[in-house]
Symmetry: C2
Subunit: 226 residues, 2 copies
Amino acid sequence: MPEAATQTYTRADEAFDCLQTAIVKGDLAPGEKIGEVELCSRFNLTRGPLREALGRLESRGLLVRRPHAGVKVVSVSADELLELYRIRETMEGLAARQAAERMTDEEVADLQATLDNHEKMIEQAQGQAYYQAEGDYDFHHRIATGSRNTKLAQMLLGDLYYMVRMYRYRLSTSSGRPHMALEEHRRIADAIAQRDGELAEFLMKRHINAARRNIETKIHNGSLTI
Amino acid sequence: MPEAATQTYTRADEAFDCLQTAIVKGDLAPGEKIGEVELCSRFNLTRGPLREALGRLESRGLLVRRPHAGVKVVSVSADELLELYRIRETMEGLAARQAAERMTDEEVADLQATLDNHEKMIEQAQGQAYYQAEGDYDFHHRIATGSRNTKLAQMLLGDLYYMVRMYRYRLSTSSGRPHMALEEHRRIADAIAQRDGELAEFLMKRHINAARRNIETKIHNGSLTI
DNA sequence: AGTCGATGGATTGTTGACAATATAATTCCT
DNA sequence: AGGAATTATATTGTCAACAATCCATCGACT
């Protein structure tokens, strides 16, 4: 549960965060039908705020609601997951370009320091997929906010990343190629540091494209079933 | 008010649609602080469903809420409006490419028939900006759904277009270049008909880029103040 | 006179009870 | 016995009253 970073933290916000993390972490499985009263007792909530949170989550595409019929967690097919990566490719390419043009020098330094940190963690705990996934999220998060494009950051952080993370947890495969991904992150950060927006965009698109194809082959191999 | 296309139309849906159109049409001005009870009496609603709708609208970025302090319509600066077009450029480029690969022949025929219709309307009522705006929306709508990319269509139709339309109504400038825009639409549709995804993407990006620059110059001229 | 602090009013957040509807189990008919 | 219509139940949608919080006005102090 996140802290009360916002001054006042309403019950609906609490419900929203609880449900979102529960869905992302897989505590609520995709396709699962969930009753309102059950959720209330589970998270110590009342139905009013809960319903408000359900509305928000439906609006973000994390669950679907049929009137009077109940609410169930969204289940995304393998094809749709790959489509998600196609969207990420274009949007994060734009984010990288704008980040190269607009990030402050401090932000760039932080970004590269983050990558140093990731490198240490990968070397220490080899193949610790969990940290790799979080590190990857951290990197992309910084670039999204660094783009100074409010709506773009909102769409990436508020919509796409939660869905991608949901499948990361379920598949627990992060990317499966930690060193490769780190190297790609490094190159993107360098391009941003050199304020080369065009190159940053190109590298970011290629990076996400590679991740997509990685998942695609795993699915075709049958080693990944969704 | 839309029809009951969905089998059951709940009050919260009604509230959501009412508020959304009110915001888009400018009946609720950006930056305006609106009280819940006032909205209830205005749309003949009760506070429960209204609050659920407010949550959804906040989630979509059409209004901002501060706990216990009230809700106000979002006010987007000129810079942010231009950023919106940058996002559209990449996302709709992708949509056009995928539409070229996936639209059925019937859909392509419908798309081109739509353009014929637009041409007639433009010739008949020269400079009738309203229809031009709606026609433009129709065109882009068809391509978004034709991409067969669920999330992409959802983000375009559910998030971006409403914001863009909001400013269209306020500025009532549609694009200001109906014949030019129609010609660009034609070329995009032709590329889709020829199943040339790469070209469709290129043309769509250029089309939206032109629209963005058109707005940009108008802003710099001072003929557009937001 | 200007600024800081306290109190009143209004508005939002929350709660529990009531009404409407979809799913299901049951009964009746073919 | 199988299927269709029907009733019953449980779940969702809706409502109106209660509690908590913020904003503005007013007053006191520096």
